[in-house]
Every structure is written in structure tokens, then in C-alpha cells.
Symmetry: D2
Subunit: 341 residues, 4 copies
């Protein structure tokens, strides 16, 4: 059975497992006070070109989003995001569980538009009743988006400017950041990300680790006693070395970027192959997720040979499905998939 | 530098790392729907002699406590525990963050007493103002306790009876359950635990895994849509295989029990050695944590050669410290420690 | 200065003040255990033709919505409402503060449509990822809506049927219920409301009291220990007699209905007068709130002589404003307003 | 039937009802933007000798406590109070419902001791594990306490100093402040209260109003957008005039103080009478609540003629009960009660 279901269905990149083995018997303090975490943070700071960045390793994406958003918002504030944003759709209300509303803007292939954001903020403060409403207290975007699309540097910069005008933080969900940074169609670097936003996370789980996301506060703005805040959310890992070792490895010899480039290349091969065969591409994604429109009959037959993800209904007879590549996908897998299709 | 600081300062038991390597390239669905999780659950059910047990793997202890307690309590209920209970002291208010009060009973070497629990419950309902108070909605105990002590089967049974009389669940925090079950001084088996309580967790992090705790609902009482509840708490692991593989290995060839027995034996050697040398044992712990009273001067000197945990002030000139053993401790480590002391 | 700003800008209907005076020195138990509350409940049960109704008096509308919704939803569930629904727009995130998402449907002049609700629910359970999403756990509608419009009995009945099919409660916010029940254009009675929904509240604050809303559970479905739940939300009134006396008066000699009819009549006179004068009516409201499109210049001039509410921008040169009538509005006020306009 | 059950079992002081009648038809804006609220605030500022005080009227005591505490604490902080403190015992977990732990100190006749507070704070920061614990983020005391006792000016000053040393706010629950300020045995004035604490509330409900408490921030420290915070808690009163008119009346012609003195005098008469008759006084309260030890048989007989409050078990054959006086108690009532006893 071929597996294109998602980018987190195998274990970890072999280099990461090796590092876990190599460090296994070296005793370290818990809760992130281990030397691997320290080393990983140094390497991430360098990769971000942000020497003052404050970094905290968390276990998963929904957890990172909930903890970061809750730690930055005041009780009466909400977070603005695209109506397709992960926090508003597929995180089971984890942001609301912390007491905050998710305020939505229309998405444009998964992205929000700086102008529309500006209008939302302007209208809010122009409304005579705004004190009875949820304040827009921060902005959340994902890069790549839930549809695999990417913001251009100009788009990010525009959104960032609006946030600064209204003095609210910009937060970037980088669950699949490796694929975004290594896309052939991007002009956005990790340093750009660090400069333009106030906090973001470098996704591990979907980019080669067993688990773990690196939350990066870029403007000396990590909330005071963040460790306690994290523990208060039940999110503090006892063996912080587990995330430390993994991110230390990811940011050694550019492994994080290599993983991104490798999976993107396979995804591009897949996309081109699908186009050649006449399949309708739902969204032209420049990253590792490819969204294709399949006839329902084709889709059903395919299920016996390939695992993939249902995305959404296209029309009565067609469905949008997703194929994802990762460090664990082989070129042979892609060729076999194209053959089957 | 010798390390006796805690039982979670090395990586994972080598057998677990081996399993991670062996399974690394086998694609699996996420969120716990992998074959390793299924297999681990089967083995745990067998070990508990509880064929209907419903099991969910979470990442850490504080997280498990917060999610389980919040999922079982009604909004106006609190959880009863010893005043030394981990949830009330060292979890940064994670239970309160979910909206629930921690109601305390006096501890007796870390344990609560069934009679005192019974009185608390009786008095609550006898109080004419009870509708204005937090209802005692469940009972939390840890086994071993935070002081390494153990409940006898009779004590557990008595507490369990009180809970059943008042129809509130009994929850056992088994962060260090391996050491409790394998103590030479216990008559409590895993099957007894499963029978006497309504939900408990089998600790992984402190008993040999990289991370992970197995929450076991023993009475067909796992809350409906528990996966969504877990995700709502930001606690759902994408690569559920990570905990699945680890627990599958722990419950193969009795590894979990072997780890417990091994560390207990070293702890016993340490305790006897300390007694022989005339050190004052603070609490006579039958498990892997040993609490010793040191002169402050001795303690300061020791810090240069051995890592251990500060526990509490004993008197002006003495401090209680903790030495913990684990699967990663060697007999040579213990001997060297005794030599130094 | 004429006052049409809202229906809660004067004190209380004189009959209510009289009752407060008459009962002032009769000692009563607190927290709703007073004879006036008992009497009011009896009268409300009779008026609803719902002998088993369980009734609880709360102080305000946002409070009632937050307490009722939080008490009926499970932690992972959200509440479905129109995108113009009060809970999602003008309650400062009080529902989210309790941990629940507000899920929206498009509004049709403030109303939701049973078919669209049915599709939302069907699609939710058809989505393969629904376990990662917020469950639609109840439905909220307001009657009259935020735009003064009304559901027909058929519309309510259809919504009710969908809710019953999916076994989720239907909750009606009756902040202005008096005006809805007494509209000339309604076929919905208080008994219909009680029959078709699972819980609703009879608004006092906007219909003649100093404060107070009567929450009515119609299906033996008041959550257990609701008093404690209310107190846990900081919403329990010590002098429950205050709401008891007021609702006892409102439901004596049909005062509640008289207040509704009186204000509706004045609103109709106003609407007809405005139409006669060629003003554009924004929404044809059959209740006590009238929404009119004014030229911005006219609006600014009017501000010096009349208080009214800004509603929303109509176009560059026009604004929608609201005029509201109440028990305290006089026919002379309406005539003077029409004269000024 | 004589009524000594509590100080909130009648309506409102007649002067308050008169004011409600007098102002009834004057239209005012909602949500506290009415002229009566403005006037009341001015008078309270003057009475507190605190010209910059920021004042917000809320409806009830539990609500005030929950909103104030939640608005001042960071997510990972808890509130320190006596183990008999109202927020920790009889408010149904409303503080925890907002996510915060109540940290307790032993009470001394209902009061906390500055030294013990200082030790708690010092020990907290001395504990190597404090980052894993709930931070003590503010201090709550009630004056009078739940046992009717009073802090001396020196005691308050000492507690205040400790709070300032640790830079955490001191909050005083003044549910019965009138009785505290007018006690013959106090040297604490309203201005002292305002100076020594950071926020307090002037209780209305238990001192003569139908409802309402005046929260006073004394150090330019009212949280930004407090109105929205209040609404977010479901605690914003639409007809803010209701609390405005009442407090405006309470602080006209010293009514608040007269009510306090009047009830205290009757309570003193009662206490002296009880002592003369040989009854055991449980706590020597200098305010309007009197706690007496009754034989259980006497208590049962008394129930037929007098309403009073059960307080706690004294011993097998005796119970502590409470008699409370208020503006509505008459001298004849007290004499009759003494006669019966």
C-alpha cells in the first residue's frame, strides 16, 4: 500500500533517531534545561538571523497555537485568522477552550489579505459599540497555508505593517515551514519570517521529527514565566531533551531545509505527472501538499492501493483529495502512484 | 558527575529505542490509529486483567491529570487529594486552569486516609450551605505517592469503597507505577489497581520511555468523544505511533515490571548503605525514590560530585534531599555514591 | 431631548416599583428561595402552558446566555447561531470565555434557516475529520432577532425539528420576547415557544424591569445543581426577591403582554409616519425596534434633539439608525419625533 | 416569625426606593454611562479621600470577587487568602472557574497574619521548584471577615507592606464594610482602606441596597478596557442606573454609615443581652453578625419562632449559630429575641 496520506505517518528522519541513540545515556536536567536544547536554540537563532530570539520547544501544533495565543492575548481579545485557518477549523476549539474567540477574514487560497485585515481593524475601532465586542488582539497566519500556498515577502510585509500600526502581534504557524522555505516559488527566508512577525513556530512533527515544535519569540516578547504558563496548560515536557536533541539535529548541516527541498521536489514531480495525465489540480500548491480533483469512482478504486486524505466535496461526482510527500517518501513511491493513476 | 536527580534524566530504555528504529519506516495513520497503539492497548488490557479497559496515550503527567480530571468532573465539582498531591502542588495550577478546585485532605506520608475522606464527604452533604460550595466530584491519589510511599491493598480498597458509596470516581496517578508494583513491600497488583479505581495512568516518562502515559479507563467510563476532548486540551499527539511503539515495548516481555524491579533494587541498596553509614532516612520509601536528611554542609559539598534533588527544609542545619534510581542507574553509580557519602 | 436610544433607558414600569415598595419589609430567604420567586414561577408556568417548566431568574441577558449555553454544552461542543446573533457579536466573547466556540450560519434578516442548519449538521458528521472539529452542540436563535424580525411558527417548528433529529437543544434568547409575542404579524405564542424549544429566557430588562431575565427549561432538562452552576459563574443574586417580585408583577394581569403591545403600537405609528415622510425603512420590523436609513447630515442634526442608536453604515452618505420604543415612551414623544423628522 | 437569618432578607433601605421612584422616568444611557453613576462615583471618591479612584458598579459579591481577581491575576497566578475566606469556601469555585487557584493561609478568627503571609511569599521564591507552582499573585482579605471580626489599622498596614514588598495587589472584600467602618472597636476609616489596598469593594447588597457592589481601584490601576472585561464575564448591568442611583443615595447624607452604625448598635444590644443570659459567645464580633453557641435542643425549639443561620458544629450537643442585624431590624425585634432566649 502506497502512503501519501500525510507528512507525519512515518517515524523520524534517520539522522534524528541516530542522535537520540547517541545521546541516550547522557544524564540531563529536565524541562528544557538540557544541553541539547541549548545547542538547538543557538542554531535556530543563527538560522533566523535573530540573536535575541527566545525559543521554547513544545510537543505539537495545536498545543503550540493554544499556548502562544493564550499567552499573548488579554482575556477580552480574540485572534484574527482566515476562515480556513487551522485554529478555527481543525483544532477542536482549543483556542476557545482557553477563553478566546477566533475572528475570521475570508481566505484567498488559504491566505488573508492585508487590506481586508486593515479594514477589519479600522471598522472595529470605528464601531460605537466596540467595547461590547471581542477586541482583535493578534493575527494568526499559517505559512504554508492549509492549502499548501505561500505568502510572498511583500504580502507578509503588508500584513506585518498593519499589525504594527495597530500594535498587535503577528503570529505565524509554521507547522510545515520547511516546505514553505524551500519552495522554488518563494522569496521568503527564515530571517524574513523572524523579522516580520512577533512569534512563530518551526514545525517539527510534519517536517521529520517524532514530535516537537520550536516556538520562536523574535522581539524580546516571550511572556514572563513562560515555562510556568506552559506547565499551566499541561504542555511542559519532562524530558525536554527529546525535543532538544531533535531540533539540534534538524538545524545541523541544514537537515531541516534538506527535508523541505526533498519533499517539495517529489511533490512537484507528482504535480507535473498529474497535470500530464490530465488531472485537474485544485490549487496550484508550490509545497509538499498537492490537492487534486478526482472522480468519485476513481477515488474509491484508488483507496485499495494508496492511502491519501479526503479534503472536501468538489461537486456531486468529484472530490478534492490531498497527496502529501515527506522525508520518507521515495521517488519510486511517486512513480508508482503516477502509474496507478 | 553522578546523577541521582530524578528518574527522567536519561533518554529511553534501549529496547524502546530499538523498537522505534525497527518501526520507523512503516507508514501508519496518525492520532493513535496505528497498529502499535492497538497492540499496546491489547497488552495493557491483558496485564490489567481488564479486557474492556479503554486506553488513551497522552504525552505527560500533568497533561494526563488535567485532561482526565477535567473530562470527568462537572463544571461545579472539584477533585479531592492529599495536601501533598502533585496536582495541588507542582503542576502550576493546571487543574484550576481547567476550572476546577483542588480540595485537600491532610497527608499521612503522602497518603490520604479513607476515614478522613469519608468524613469530608459526609460533612459536605451535611452542610446546609453545600449548594454554595465546590462539590467533591472525584478522588485523586498517587501510587507511589510523591514521597515514594505505597497504599496497601486494604487501604486502596477502603478508599475505593468510600468513592463508590458517594458515586464519585477514584483516579490513580501512576507516574511511577512500575516502582510501586514491583516493590518488595506491596501486595497491590496491576489488576488490583484496575479493579479498585475507575481510571488510572501507567506512567511512561518516569519509567523508561522518552515520553508518554497510558490512561486506562477501567469501567467502560471513557467519556464520549475523548479524542476530541484531548485535542480540545491541545494534548493530542499527531504521531500517536510514538507512544504506541513505546508502550507496546514496555508491555512486551514484562519490560515495564523489569524496569521497576531493577530500579527498586538499586534504591534498596542505596537506602541500606545510607542507614549503615548512619544517615537519617526521612521517609522509609519502598520504591525508587529515597529521601535522606543531610547536614547542609554535607549537602553543599555533595553538589560538586552528584546531582540530586532538593526536597524541603528539615531544620536550620539540615535539608531533606531526594536520590532517585532508574533503568539508567548502574550498581557502580550506587556504590560510588555510597563511597562519596 | 427625546429618547429613542433603546428600550432600557428608563427605570422600571411603575407597577413594578409599587410591588417592590409593598413587599420591601417582608423578610425572605435569599438566593431565590423567596415566596415572590415561587409565585412568579407558578404564573410563568401557567402563561407558558408548561406545568413542568423549571425556571431560574438571572440578572442580565449576556449572563443568561453564557450560563445557559455553558451549562448545556459539553466541553468540546459549540453553539450554532446566525452571524448576526447577539452572542457572537455584542457579548464581548462571554460564550468563548466559558470555553465554547460560536459556530455561525448566514443570517436572513437576522434569522437562520432550518435547511441551512440541517446542511451544516449533516456536513459536520459527513466530514471524515469531524473528531478534530468543534461539535455543533446546540442552536441559539433570538426572537425577536437583533433586527427586530420574527420567526413564523412554521420556521420555528422546522428549526426545532432539525434540532430534535440531531438531539441537540434549541435555545431561544427572548431578551425582547414581549414585543415578539405581541406583534400584529406573529402567529407564535408563549406556549408555542415553550413547546418548540428546550430552553428560553423571558427578557425583563428590555421589557420593563430594572433587571432580570427568567430562564425557562421546558423539558425537565434543567441541569442538576443549577444553582451551584449559576453561583460558579458569579451570577447568583443574593436578594432573589428582586427578580422574583419583578417577574411576579410582570405576569400579573398580563402586564408583560401589555408592555409589549403598547411599545409595538408606538413603533408602528413611528414606522408608518416615517414611511409617509418618505424615509427608507432598512428592515420592515414588526416589533418595537425600527431601523431607518438616514442621510448622514440629517443624522448629525437629529443628534441634538433626539437620542437614538447608530446601527451600521448604509453607504458613503447614509447610515442605518435604530429608534426603540418601550413602556416609557409616550405617544407625544413619537409625534414630536415625527415632527422633527 | 422573627428574622435574624442574614442582613439581606429584606428589600432596600426606604431612602433607596424613594430615589428609584424619583429618577424612574429620566432617560439615561445604559451600561453605567448615566448621571447617577457619575454622581455616586464622585461621592465615593470624596468619602474615600481618593480623588483619582476609578469605580465600577457590579451586581453581587461573588461576581465582584471573580471579576476583580481574574482581571488582576496573570494566568499562572493564584490569590492568597485565609482558609475561611469567602472566595475559597462559599463561592462555589467562581475563582477557579476563571482559572485561578485559591492559596490559603491559616485564619485567626477569620483574619490572616502579615507575618505568615510574608513567610509564604518568601518560601515560595526560595523553593527551587517554584516555576512549577502557582505564583501567589495577589492577596484577598475580607473586612469585616466572615466571622464579623476586624483588622486593626496596624494589621492592615502590615499586610499592605508585605504586598508592596512583593509587588502584588491587596484586595479587600467589603461585602459588609459599613458595619466594619462603624464598629465601636475600629480605628480603620474608609480613607485608610483606600490608601492601604489596591482595590476593594463597598458592599451594597448586605448594607441596604437591592443589589450592587462598588468596586474601587485606588491606585490608577483599573485594568484597561475594564467594561469589556466585565461584559466578558457576563457581569455588565444594562441599566447601570440601578446601581448608580442606589450608591448615589447610600453616599448622600452618610446613609451608608448610618446603616452600619444602626445595625451594629442592635447587634451589640443583642450580644450583651445574650452574655447576661449566660449564653456562650463563639467569637466576640464587634459588627452586625453575632455568633452564639446553642444547645442543639434550644436551637431546634428556637427554629419555630426565629429564623437564624446555622454556622458550624461546636460539639456533639452544641451548634454555632449566627444572628445578623440590618437596617430592617428593629429594637423591638432584638428585645423579643432576647425574651424568647
Amino acid at each position: 500500500m502506497l502512503s501519501f496520506e500525510c507528512d507525519y505517518n512515518c517515524g523520524a528522519h534517520p539522522a534524528i533517531l541516530e542522535s537520540l541513540i547517541k545521546t541516550n545515556f547522557v544524564p540531563q536536567s529536565g524541562y528544557g534545561f538540557d544541553e541539547y536544547s541549548d545547542s538547538a536554540k543557538e542554531k535556530i537563532r543563527a538560522a533566523c538571523n535573530c540573536p535575541d530570539a527566545e525559543i521554547f520547544f513544545l510537543v505539537g501544533g495545536t498545543q503550540s497555537n493554544a499556548v502562544v495565543i493564550d499567552s499573548l492575548l488579554k482575556s477580552y481579545e480574540g485572534v484574527v485568522c482566515a476562515d480556513t485557518g487551522h485554529i478555527g477549523t481543525h483544532e477542536a476549539g482549543a483556542v476557545e477552550a482557553c477563553g478566546h474567540k477566533v475572528l475570521t477574514l475570508p481566505n484567498h487560497q488559504g491566505k488573508i489579505c492585508a487590506n481586508e485585515l486593515s479594514v477589519l481593524l479600522k471598522n472595529f475601532y470605528a464601531d460605537e459599540n466596540y467595547e461590547h465586542m471581542v477586541f482583535p488582539g493578534m493575527v494568526y497566519i499559517s505559512h504554508p497555508t492549509e492549502y499548501g500556498t505561500l505568502y510572498s515577502k511583500q504580502e507578509l510585509s503588508n500584513i506585518s505593517s498593519v499589525c504594527r500600526e495597530y500594535e498587535i502581534p503577528l503570529y505565524i504557524d509554521g507547522a510545515r515551514l520547511a516546505y514553505g522555505l524551500m519552495s522554488k516559488q518563494t522569496n521568503v527566508s527564515l530571517a524574513d519570517i523572524a523579522e516580520l512577525c512577533d512569534v512563530f513556530y518551526i514545525g517539527g512533527t510534519k517536517c521529520g521529527t517524532l514530535c516537537g515544535e520550536a516556538v520562536v519569540f523574535t522581539k524580546n516578547n516571550m511572556p514572563k514565566h513562560f515555562l510556568t504558563i506552559v506547565k499551566n496548560h499541561g504542555a511542559l515536557l519532562a524530558k525536554g531533551r527529546l525535543t532538544g536533541v531533535q531540533f539540534d539535529t534538524l538545524f545541523t548541516d541544514n537537515l531541516y531545509f534538506k527535508i523541505g527541498r526533498y519533499a517539495n521536489n517529489l511533490a512537484e514531480t507528482l504535480k507535473n505527472g498529474l497535470k500530464d495525465k490530465g488531472y485537474k489540480i485544485f490549487i496550484d500548491s508550490p509545497t509538499n501538499q498537492q490537492f487534486v480533483v478526482l472522480e468519485n469512482k476513481t477515488m474509491e478504486e484508488l483507496k485499495n492501493k494508496v492511502s491519501f486524505s479526503y479534503w472536501e466535496v468538489f461537486d456531486e461526482n468529484h472530490t478534492v483529495v490531498r497527496f502529501a510527500t515527506s522525508w520518507a517518501t521515495t521517488r519510486a513511491d511517486v512513480e508508482k502512484l503516477l502509474e496507478i493513476l
